[in-house]
């Protein structure tokens, strides 16, 4: 009996589907972290002041801040941990470290996109922001989700098996992911003022590409961490 080799893309998508299935069963990202993010959106005005014009102006920035900080928690979810036996099985099945990291990043990206889409109406409802130029936000959703997903997958791989994984991961990711925050808020502001948001989109895209290249380069070094 001969077995046909499975293409890396198929392996990657299969792993991502496995991660999403596990997350659907656990419900950590959508049933715990997303409501927690909504609570943060609700609490922020109580700290900075419930001034409606101010919140209308600053609401999008608060939204992206919550997406960045809580999005890291989505990428560090408990269901994104493979035990030594699962890792051994994947290695024996010929799944390479880059494919594993890419599969994790794809699953992270899908979950983060869902996370953003769940929180966006909450932010609109609470802050009533000016929605001028809102179509520009759509590519930002995708690009921010992609960048944060790759950085989160990388941090998750670095912190896997450590006692402080869920606290260490955000410390590793959040400072590096700041250009994503700047880019996302910059696009929203530029679109609101009628300026071209292309430079900010370019910034976010560049961060995504650099993160992807770094992740692809270092994946093999993270092979036997568990």
């Amino acid at each position: 009996m001969t077995t046909l080799p499975v293409a890396p893309l198929t392996q990657c998508l299969t792993l991502a589907a496995k991660d999403l299935r596990l997350e659907r069963r656990a419900g950590e990202a959508m049933l715990v972290t997303a409501p927690f993010g909504a609570v943060a959106l609700l609490l922020a005005p109580l700290a900075v002041g419930t001034d409606t014009p101010l919140l209308r102006q600053r609401g999008p920035a608060l939204y992206w801040l919550v997406v960045l900080l809580f999005g890291v928690l989505v990428t560090m979810r408990a269901s994104a941990v493979e035990g030594p036996a699962q890792l051994a099985m994947l290695r024996l099945a010929g799944v390479g470290p880059r494919v594993r990291l890419a599969g994790r990043a794809v699953a992270n990206g899908v979950l983060l996109l869902g996370f953003q889409l769940v929180l966006a109406p909450v932010a609109v409802l609470l802050y009533d922001p000016d929605l001028t130029g809102w179509p520009w936000v759509l590519p930002v959703f995708v690009l921010v989700a992609a960048g944060l997903a790759v950085l989160g997958a990388l941090a998750d791989a670095l912190a896997v098996g450590l006692a402080g994984r869920t606290t260490l991961g955000p410390l590793l990711v959040a400072p590096i992911a700041v250009p994503l925050l700047l880019g996302a808020t910059g696009v929203v502001q530029a679109a609101g003022y009628g300026r071209s948001p292309w430079p900010w989109l370019l910034l976010v895209t560049t961060v995504d590409l650099v993160a992807a290249l770094l992740a692809a380069w270092c994946a093999r070094y993270l092979e036997d961490l568990a």
Partner: protein, 254 residues
């Protein structure tokens, strides 16, 4: 009784501390004797410490980056120790640069802190390398620790050019580069000489600190290895298992 490890000698060495001490005295003297700035007055003397501290921080992270790459390539423990020592010293110099900049900023800008691109990116760089040190501390196994931190040491360095070029790419309150720039330095030669002299002093101080820290790490590693080779008594060693099948217990307990 024979010691488990041989002490490697003085941690700081013998000659380098003397050299650093003399150089530091010369640097301080030059900073005190240098002329005051036309605009800033005596406040300019703070910059003779702030700027070299920032440069040394960049040097530290550059060494961490190179040593991390070196470890990934050759897997030599010395590279890991060098990367870690340099990152620790880099965090110290970054914090020093931020603190001194803040002290300088209060009388000059009127605030201790401002939301300037250079300041914010430098603070982020500090937190990234604090994360690097936290990652090391969280990993007990030496090989795992070296691998994780080497990868993060390379990834983290992506922030360093961002900090350096932040004053060029954004409109900032912080002044643009005045020494390493196209067209040459904009400083008065006498001030530039003092600044460069202090940069040399800080570099020597960096070498001294990194060497000492790397030696301490080597001693710690040797101690760990020696303890692994000759394990001492464990907490539970003194406790013996109860005898369950003695004749008396059969008669009394059952």
């Amino acid at each position: 009784m024979t010691p488990l490890i041989t002490p490697p000698g003085p941690v700081f060495g013998r000659r380098l501390p003397l050299v650093v001490g003399v150089a530091a005295a010369a640097g301080v003297t030059a900073a005190v004797l240098s002329p005051p700035d036309v605009v800033q007055g005596d406040l300019v003397r703070l910059l003779y410490v702030h700027v070299p501290a920032a440069w040394t921080a960049f040097l530290s992270y550059g060494v961490t980056f190179a040593a991390s790459l070196g470890w990934l390539w050759r897997r030599r423990p010395g590279m890991d120790r060098l990367a870690a020592a340099s990152a620790e010293v880099g965090v110290f110099f970054t914090a020093l640069a931020i603190t001194l900049g803040s002290i300088w900023g209060r009388p000059t800008w009127g605030v201790w802190w401002t939301w300037d691109a250079r300041l914010v990116t430098t603070a982020l760089m500090l937190f990234i390398y604090l994360g690097y040190l936290a990652l090391r501390r969280a990993t007990p196994d030496p090989l795992d620790r070296a691998k994780r931190s080497a990868v993060f040491g390379v990834v983290a360095f992506a922030q360093v050019p961002l900090v350096h070029f932040s004053v060029v790419w954004w409109r900032t309150l912080h002044q643009p580069p005045s020494v390493i720039r196209p067209g040459g330095p904009t400083m008065d030669p006498s001030m530039l000489l003092v600044l460069l002299g202090n940069a040399v002093v800080f570099t020597l101080l960096y070498v001294l600190m990194v060497r000492a820290r790397a030696r301490m790490a080597a001693t710690e590693d040797a101690l760990d290895e020696a303890q692994d080779a000759h394990p001492g008594p464990l907490a539970g060693d003194a406790v013996s298992a109860p005898l369950l099948a003695t004749a008396r217990s059969e008669n009394t307990d059952v």
